[in-house]
Amino acid sequence: MRITCPHCGARDAQEFTYLGAADPQRPDGMAATEAAMVDYVYLRDNPAGPHRELWYHGAGCHAWLVVTRDTRTHAIASVEPAKARKAGAAA
């Protein structure tokens, strides 16, 4: 696979580390129930189709990226810095 890093351009997937789904939001540990945190830490969907997921460009710019990838074909629809996404959502 190749991932087009917004900072570094198209790079081989070997430069990146996969984490998992991008959308689960970390609950506030002081307010959340244990069940909510268990859900955040362990439970993930396994979709056949578009999947928003986190990749870390460890052998490049160290950016955490949100990659939208079709799990059936590996076609990548978009790549954006995780940081920008969160900032955009807050604004």
Binding site: M1, R26, G29, E34, V41, L54, W64, H74, A75
Partner: protein, 994 residues
């Protein structure tokens, strides 16, 4: 030439002026430059080249290409010996040594061919049916027996003396295959200015043009070929890579290739790799891999002398070798007739032509007459005779009568299968074409198009037309302006009528579907009767198509037999999915230089040279080499050395490199807030100029890492991590910052490699330091107390950082200087400490002293321990949220009974402790239910003069004073230990603050 009785006196693409000596099974032969091993053996009249996998049947050369299932040989000798190489693609070189496989004691007389007599026991699924029980017999009896009887070639058994490379290439258009379609495509794309890479597995470009007598634009095809190659060579952005197989198609236009750089040489030239594994990134690719000819299933179809008709033509036309003197052609279509024609024109006899189609037209009748061949229209070959060398065939005529014809070559023609393997590497399925009687590419992977025979467009005219059109298209897709379309060259007329014959039923002998795995039509029928009808089941039950040739000549015949058996069509029966690699790839080509110690990089501390001069023994710690201990002359075991180093630190002063610890620079107005969220303890109150121990958890509540973090300024911290976890922690912090809390004003950068750092420990540490720290800086106990941190200068103005922190429990400092000064720092410290007997110490002594002080380290931070387990529960802040806080409070993680951290000492001080020993109550049975925990770390304390241990045991500190067994069945250890405080030396910490 007399030595090569089947060599033609002229013709072909071999260089008769260059004679090459080679040997097969110890006997010497000669061939010519341009030969393959197979063509040279045939030219010498060697027909029997191997024994089959299961029945040890004699086998000869079937094909002239990569699909070869029979002519598998061991190539070379000694450490370069390589099994299962296909003689049909081995380029002949002077001095080549090859040996047949699967025979004992000799190829001609093979005792295990008796397997053929007991063959009823070896039918489909016999592994599953015969060797059922007892299970223990598998390892001891069945498997060794089967391996000896049914093995393939032998591996070298010695380390490969050659090296391999990995390489990367980028292009606009990748052309896979250098036949007419591929060359036309490369030319069209190249003329458009595209960066083109053309790969061909052969050592000579041209594909089938090399094997056929064809005309292009009214001239021999060789002229078109020469002109095309010359023009391609003149285009600066076209790269031609012969001897290079594209073996896999991966996501996003990445192609795997292996280039056989030196396989055609006795051994690689100096500084040249044997093979090179390529990863090619192509915007577009054109598959022009041609087609593979199909055999027919009939009794005795594996006798040496039965050959694919296209291959026979290749040996005659390309290699100038007659594969037989008396030929019978068995064909299901027009294409086979070209073989009869070419053999005759080269001087061979064609005894008979068996065309399975009922009617032969006038033209073919006339050709048979001209060749002097008996014509059997509507007939079929139903048997062969001759054993080790074909000597005749039995033909069933259209009338039902049978006829015998003597021959030493049976050329078989049953149409061709497109070489579409790469099109299905991304899960796209081929589709059946009723008109062409073969599978053709269905949906295609993004960026790939298919030209010529690989697309089922089998004529030369179609190949040239496809190549030119798709080459221009690919260039346009890659963003270039395609060159104008010239006229497609005209070709001589050709027909490709075909009515395939999948098998000829009726005769008694074995009829092979899969030659390499010895699967017969009866095996396939049996499997279908037993219910293994889905093609994937059939394949695994019979092993059809599972040999190293991956069923290139057998998959379709297998499907056809099942289809016939079950009354379905071939497409209803299914197709198998092709996966990479297309042909076998040596692991070496994939590994490149990443083997042995080069498997991963080795990192050296900036003080490495100094340590080596001091006689250090090094140990791997993650990627780093760290000094383990520094033996002195006369010290014959490591413990003597380590004891000396520990005592020297505790009584005087020692220095130890700690440069390998992870160092992360954290800056920003929210830096303290950030640390609050990643560490379990508090950071906002830490004053500037102070260090603090920090412990971080994973989000699941288990301990991730620990270290000291110093506040260098109001918004500036320096975190240290353990050596092994430096990368992981950096990634974790980046995650926390970028994904969880991007709103925090904080920046992180790894500075692990920017600083060299040394620990200076022992009662004389301060006096030693005084000798290197510039006099302007006051490092007295009052001015620079325990846990103080300051930016200072050393050696007359060199910037440095001084930390008063201690892992050993002694008065200790860590001094950091820019990495390039690391070597100088160690030498300066040695000079300054000389009056106090300064002693270098390594990670072993460091480990002894940390056990003496009860500090946790890697063995305790195992990923399965919580802060509470390690006795650090009181450090966990209850006032703030931090990573892992909530999950660390889960009931199972705060259970009273969880094994927790304490010390252990042997009741008999002479006894040695062992890490990994499990704790069992005295008098209790040594069973899992009685397991109370285990010893994580042990060390011998030269201070206490006995062994001491750290470990995790149920009940933990509440049980101090109790005795338990430390049970270590692996090393026959079973001793009584007393549970004690984990701090063995100076529990008050008086030394630390001195």
């Amino acid at each position: 030439m007399s030595g090569q009785p089947f060599r033609l006196t002229s013709g072909g693409l071999i260089d008769r002026g260059r004679t090459l000596d080679f040997s097969f099974d110890g006997k010497s032969y000669q061939g010519h430059a341009g030969d393959t091993l197979a063509s040279a053996l045939l030219a010498n009249g060697v027909r029997l080249v191997g024994r089959s996998f299961k029945y040890h049947r004699p086998r000869g050369v079937l094909s002239a290409g990569p699909e070869e299932p029979n002519a598998l040989v061991e190539l070379r000798t000694g450490a370069r010996r390589e099994p299962n190489t296909r003689a049909t693609v081995v380029e002949l070189f002077d001095g080549l040594e090859a040996a047949s496989q699967n025979r004992w004691p000799s190829l001609a007389f093979d005792l295990l061919s008796l397997n053929g007599l007991v063959s009823p026991a070896l039918v489909a699924g016999f592994y599953y049916k015969t060797f059922m029980w007892p299970a223990a017999f598998w390892e001891k009896l069945y498997e060794p027996l089967i391996r000896r009887a049914a093995g393939l070639g032998r591996a070298a058994g010695a380390e490969d003396p050659d090296h391999y490379e990995k390489a990367f290439a980028f292009c606009d258009v990748l052309v896979i295959g250098g036949g007419p379609a591929g060359l036309a495509a490369a030319l069209a794309a190249g003329r458009s200015g595209a960066r083109v890479i053309l790969c061909d597995e052969d050592f000579r470009l041209g594909g089938r043009l090399l094997a056929e007598k064809r005309e292009i634009d009214g001239k021999p095809a060789s002229e078109w070929l020469a002109a095309t190659l010359a023009e391609l060579a003149s285009l600066p952005d076209v790269r031609i890579m012969p001897r290079t197989t594209i073996f896999g198609l991966y996501d996003h236009g990445i192609y795997g290739a292996v280039e056989r750089v030196s396989d055609h040489l006795p051994e690689p030239a100096p500084h040249q790799p044997r093979q090179r594994g390529w990863r090619i990134y192509a915007k577009r690719a054109i598959l022009a891999a041609g087609a593979l000819e199909r055999p027919i299933v009939f009794s005795g179809n594996d006798a040496p002398g039965v050959m694919l008709a296209g291959a026979a033509r290749t040996y005659v036309n390309r290699y100038g070798a007659l594969p037989g003197r008396e030929t019978v052609l068995f064909t299901a279509g027009d294409d086979g007739w070209a073989t009869a024609r070419d053999i005759a024109s080269a001087g061979g006899q064609v005894a008979a032509i068996v065309d399975s189609r009922p009617e032969a037209d006038a033209g073919r009748k006339a050709l048979a007459d001209k060749l002097g061949a008996r014509l059997f229209a509507g007939g079929a070959v139903e048997g062969t005779s001759g054993g080790r060398q074909l000597d005749g065939v039995t033909i069933r005529e259209a009338s039902g009568a049978t006829a015998s014809v003597a021959c030493d070559l049976l050329a078989v023609s049953n149409g061709w299968n497109p070489t579409l393997h790469l099109t299905s590497h991304q899960n796209d399925k081929p589709v059946w074409d009723d008109g062409l009687h073969c599978f053709v590419p269905g949906s295609l992977p993004a960026g790939l198009s298919v030209a010529g025979s690989a697309a089922g467009r089998f004529t030369l005219a179609q190949a040239l037309e496809d190549g030119a059109r798709l080459g221009r298209e690919a260039a346009a897709d890659a963003g270039l302006t395609p060159a104008g379309a010239g006229p497609v060259p005209a070709t001589d007329p050709e027909t490709n009528g075909l009515q395939p014959v999948w098998r000829v039923k009726g005769a008694k002998g074995k009829a092979f579907v899969d030659y390499q795995n010895d699967v017969t039509d009866k095996d396939v029928e049996l499997a279908a009767r037993e219910g293994f009808r889905p093609v994937e089941h059939l394949k695994r039950y019979t092993t059809l198509g599972m040999a190293t040739d991956q069923g290139k000549t057998s998959n379709l015949a297998g499907l056809a037999v099942v289809a016939e058996q079950t009354g379905r069509t071939i497409p209803q029966t299914g197709t198998t999915t092709f996966r990479p690699p297309y042909t076998p790839v040596a692991i070496g080509a994939l590994a490149g230089h990443h083997r042995g110690k080069d498997f991963r990089l080795t990192r050296l501390a900036p003080t490495h040279d100094w340590s080596r001069e001091q006689g250090a023994v090094f140990v791997e710690s993650g990627q780093w080499l760290r000094a383990q201990y520094y033996p002195k002359p006369g010290e014959n075991d490591w413990l003597t050395t380590v004891n000396r180093e520990v005592l020297a630190v505790r009584s005087g002063v020692g220095i130890c490199d700690v440069s390998t610890l992870g160092k992360i620079d954290i800056q920003g107005t929210d830096a303290a807030e950030f640390l609050e969220r990643v560490y379990i303890n508090g950071w906002k109150a830490l004053p500037v100029g102070k260090a603090r121990y920090g412990l971080m958890l994973r989000e699941d509540g288990f301990v991730m890492d620990d270290g000291t973090t110093s506040r260098l300024g109001e918004s500036h911290f320096l975190m240290t991590t353990t050596t092994a976890n430096a990368g992981k922690v950096m990634q974790h912090l980046e995650f926390c910052h970028q994904v969880l809390w991007p709103e925090l004003d904080v920046r992180l950068v790894s500075v692990s490699e920017q600083w060299a750092q040394a620990s200076i420990a022992g009662p004389k540490a301060r006096e030693t330091l005084r000798g290197v720290v510039d006099s302007a800086h006051d490092i007295s106990n009052e001015a620079f107390p325990y846990l103080a941190v300051r930016e200072i200068t050393v050696g007359g103005g060199i910037p440095a950082r001084l930390f008063r922190i201690s892992f050993s429990g002694e008065l200790a400092y860590e001094l950091a200087v820019p990495a390039d000064y690391g070597d100088a720092m160690m030498r300066a410290l040695m000079r300054a400490g000389a009056p106090f007997g300064i002693t270098p110490y390594g990670t072993e002594a460091l480990g002894v002293m940390r056990v003496e002080k009860g500090h946790v380290a890697g063995n305790e931070l195992s990923g399965q321990t919580t802060a509470r387990d390690l006795g650090l529960g009181k450090v966990m802040s209850s006032k703030k949220d931090y990573i892992g806080r909530l999950m660390a409070g889960r009931p199972a993680l705060i259970e009273k009974d969880r094994p927790s951290f304490v010390g252990f000492k042997p009741v008999d001080p002479a006894q040695r402790l062992r890490a990994g020993a499990h704790f069992i109550g005295i008098g209790k049975a040594t069973v899992m239910e009685n397991d109370e925990g285990y010893m994580t770390s042990v060390a011998y304390s030269p201070h206490l003069k006995h062994w001491m241990g750290l470990g995790l045991i149920k009940g933990g500190a509440a049980r101090i004073g109790e005795r338990v067994r430390a049970y270590d069945p692996v090393r026959n250890g079973d001793i009584v230990v007393e549970i004690c405080s984990p701090v063995f030396v100076d529990p008050e910490g008086a030394r630390l603050h001195g």
